[in-house]
Amino acid sequence: MDRLDRHALVMAIWCPASFLALALLHHGVTSGGGRWIAAGFVPILGAFVGHVIVNAVLKTEFTAGETALGAGAYALALVGLLLTALLGTKELVAAIFLPAGIGLAALLSAVIIYLVIRFGPRGAFERFEVVRDNNPRPASRLPHRGGRR
């Protein structure tokens, strides 16, 4: 039940923030211009900070599903931005590329800052180091065999 409560809290943070972000991004892309697109990333950043606070208070980590969803959505947004830059009209690209790029960079920075603060520079790097972690034998996790967990 605790996992469900945490899931509900995370959803309660992300759903309203997503609606706000969607409203601002939509307005920015259709007519508002760059500042509205940039503003659209603020609720997303806020929700991410809220999610990190939830993890800190409840002593939990991002679940595998959350990480996959976040990475997938980010990759999708990045691909969308690149495709727009390649295929979109000049006006559209001029209007959205810079603010959306800055917004995505800000999100990436927030994630990196979180990882560095939470795990330290080396620990943050090791989160992505999967090659060393491909030996299923328990002995491989001993420090003198290279395992650090």
């Binding site: 469900l4 899931h7 939509h26 007519s31």
Partner: protein, 641 residues
């Protein structure tokens, strides 16, 4: 706008369904369907209290009043600080009483503490009042707004049934926990939408709005000041007070009426079911007294000044600029209504199931059967509320008008349970009866009935512009004080003292310095913030009393006064929460006691006979006698038939 609005509402309904299914699939004790195992997460309470304050105040209603009466109507939002303080104090002590004496519902707490079945009946009636007419009135208003917003595509009646179905299914599947988890998200959505939509409106609107331009109100209404301390008016329906309906005492009495949001059975039940921790403090200090009150005080006049034509025209204008923002404004008001309906219907029905069905009608049900009973009850309740909203909106509105003021009349009873052992049963009953009568005769329900049956009364609704809640509470408290003084050594006093000794032993609070100062400051704050002293705010900052000169602020003096006393009030609630200790609950040191008589676990014979007649099975008494060889079908089935 209609497809987008319907799409967003459908997503909200799916969200409810998703969490209801997750809660149901998580399994656990079936009895937890009714009370979430008394372990509701603290964060849900934190978000839900300000959401209930928004919903109880009524976002659309509040914005409409501010658009019509200006800052005098907006001043009522300062009262959310008082609501926050009251919620924290009553929840804190009731939570402790629940753990100490095993009193699972507000009705049981009052019934066992005062050893009187009258309190159980009163609380059950109140739960029913909130669950049916009060919720039906809100549902009807919500569906009416939806009909207007969709340009009549979804008629009011259809909207009512759609909403009722969308709220009923998650409640029936997931019970109390799922309802609270879903509503907490909706509360957060409202808290983000109100400032977000206000900011967007101001940035994109053409021309200056409030505070550079006055709020467009009718001639003679003071938009930027409180129209006196008291208005000599016979009441709504009899005479129209000049200057506006919110003089200082009118504001104070409206704030007192808001206490009904805290003292109604469902909200008290919510507090009883919270996990131990700091959630009450955070909910009250930061999110309700701080954030919700501040957002309303800052946003409502700004947004109201942009909606002289009403909410829907403003949302249509916003939709033309940014579709999601236009829908967001409607979503803000619709969500407020749906939150209140879902909360009061689900909470009230679960309470009635526990206090009536499982205590008196079917006391021997196992946990699974209890859950089934609650689910059937929820189905009936949502059907009944939709029926009332669709086909009896006037009756619902008349009955709903007394819900909050009647809940306020329970204040002395809860003061007795939580703080004051000298408050006696007879005193509370007498005061409550007086208070209820006075509320009924200062609200449409009593006025319409009396004037139709007998003679025209010289007063209307809220005479002297004082809300019925305050009229009732003044007489109620006076009678409780006098009667308690006379029954100081009543025979039931030792029982009451036991609970208060147990509370004191659990809290083992040493008297700290500064309590006198705190209560003095609270009284002074109340007097100046929303009491008669609030009148000083009209000109205090624009025409200071210590100089002959005038100050040019650029904003109304009353607005500065409201914001100042909102901040001071939040500091006082912080003091109550963190210095006095009301903001925190703990399971440590709780030694359970047995209080009063246990709840009867036997169906009264007359109820058993009635049930038997409906269910076509022998009544309990009859079956017992049949076991003993006596033939008694005539008594069991024939007495009432």
């Amino acid at each position: 706008m209609t497809p987008l609005l319907i799409g967003v509402l459908a997503l909200l309904a799916l969200y409810g369904l998703y969490f209801a299914a997750r809660v149901a699939r998580a399994g656990g004790n079936p009895a937890a369907f009714l009370d979430a195992g008394q372990s509701l997460p603290g964060w849900a309470i934190m978000f839900l209290l300000p959401g209930l304050a928004f919903a109880g105040l009524g976002v659309e209603r509040h914005l409409g009043l501010v658009a019509r009466f200006g800052l005098q109507a907006s001043h009522v939002a300062v009262g959310l600080v008082l609501v926050a303080a009251a919620a924290m104090m009553v929840w804190n002590r009731l939570w402790l009483v629940t753990r100490l004496a095993g009193l699972a519902t507000p009705a049981e707490a009052l019934g066992r503490y005062y050893d009187s079945i009258a309190f159980r009946v009163a609380m059950m009636s109140l739960a029913l009042l909130f669950a049916l007419p009060y919720a039906a009135d809100i549902l009807s208003a919500t569906a009416r707004l939806f009909e207007t917003a969709t340009g009549g595509v979804i008629p009011r009646a259809a909207g009512i049934w759609f909403f009722a179905l969308a709220l009923a299914i998650p409640a029936i599947i997931g019970g109390w926990r799922a309802t609270v988890l879903v509503l907490a998200m909706q509360a957060l959505l409202m808290a983000l939408l109100l400032p977000g939509v206000t900011l967007f409106t101001e940035i994109t609107a053409a021309g200056a709005g409030y505070p550079n331009q006055p709020i467009a109100v009718a001639d003679g209404v003071f938009w930027d000041r409180i129209p006196g301390v008291l208005q000599n008016a016979a009441g709504i329906g009899k005479s129209v007070p000049p200057g506006g309906i919110f003089p200082a005492v009118g504001i104070a009495s409206s704030v007192v009426a808001l206490l009904g949001l805290v003292l109604n059975p469902a909200t008290l039940y919510l507090g009883q079911g919270a996990r131990a921790g700091r959630s009450f403090g955070i909910a009250s200090v930061w999110l309700t007294g701080g954030l919700a009150a501040g957002i309303l005080l800052l946003s409502a006049p700004v947004l109201a000044s942009r909606m002289p034509g009403g909410l829907v025209p403003l949302s249509e204008n916003l939709f033309d600029i940014a579709p999601f923002v236009g829908v967001g404004l409607l979503l803000l008001t619709l969500t407020g209504g749906l939150l209140a309906v879902s909360f009061f219907v689900t909470g009230g029905t679960l309470l009635l199931t526990r206090d009536l069905v499982l205590t008196y009608l079917l006391p021997r049900l196992d946990a699974r059967a209890q859950r089934l009973a609650a689910r059937i009850g929820l189905g009936f309740a949502f059907f009944a509320v939709a029926l009332m909203a669709a086909f009896a909106p006037f009756a619902s509105a008349v009955l709903a008008s007394v819900a909050l003021p009647l809940a306020v009349q329970m204040l002395p009873a809860f003061l007795g349970v939580c703080f004051l052992p000298w408050v006696s049963r007879g005193a509370v009953l007498a005061g409550m009866a007086w208070g209820i009568l006075i509320v009924l005769f200062t609200e449409p329900l009593g006025l319409i009935l009396f004037e139709a049956l007998f003679v025209e009364l010289p007063w209307g609704r809220w005479p002297l512009t004082i809300h019925s809640a305050l009229w009732g509470l003044v007489f109620n408290l006076a009678l409780v004080g006098l009667a308690s003084a006379a029954s100081h050594k009543a025979p039931d006093r030792p029982g009451r003292d036991r609970l208060h000794r147990a509370i004191a032993a659990t809290l083992h609070t040493a008297p700290k310095g500064g309590r006198g100062l705190l209560w003095s400051l609270l009284l002074l704050w109340g007097f100046l913030a929303y009491g008669p002293g609030a009148i000083l705010g009209n000109t205090f900052f624009s025409e200071p009393i210590f100089t002959a000169r005038s100050a040019t602020l650029g904003i109304p003096s009353l607005w500065v006064w409201q914001l100042l006393f909102w901040l001071l009030g939040a500091v006082l609630v912080w003091w109550l929460a963190y210095r006095v200790g009301f903001g925190r609950t703990s399971e440590e040191g709780i030694k359970p006691i047995v209080l009063g008589l246990q709840a009867p676990r036997r169906t009264p014979d007359w109820l058993a006979a009635g049930l038997a007649r409906v269910a076509q099975r022998p009544a309990l008494g009859a079956s017992r006698r049949a076991k003993n060889g006596a033939a008694t079908p005539r008594r069991a089935g024939g007495k009432g038939g």
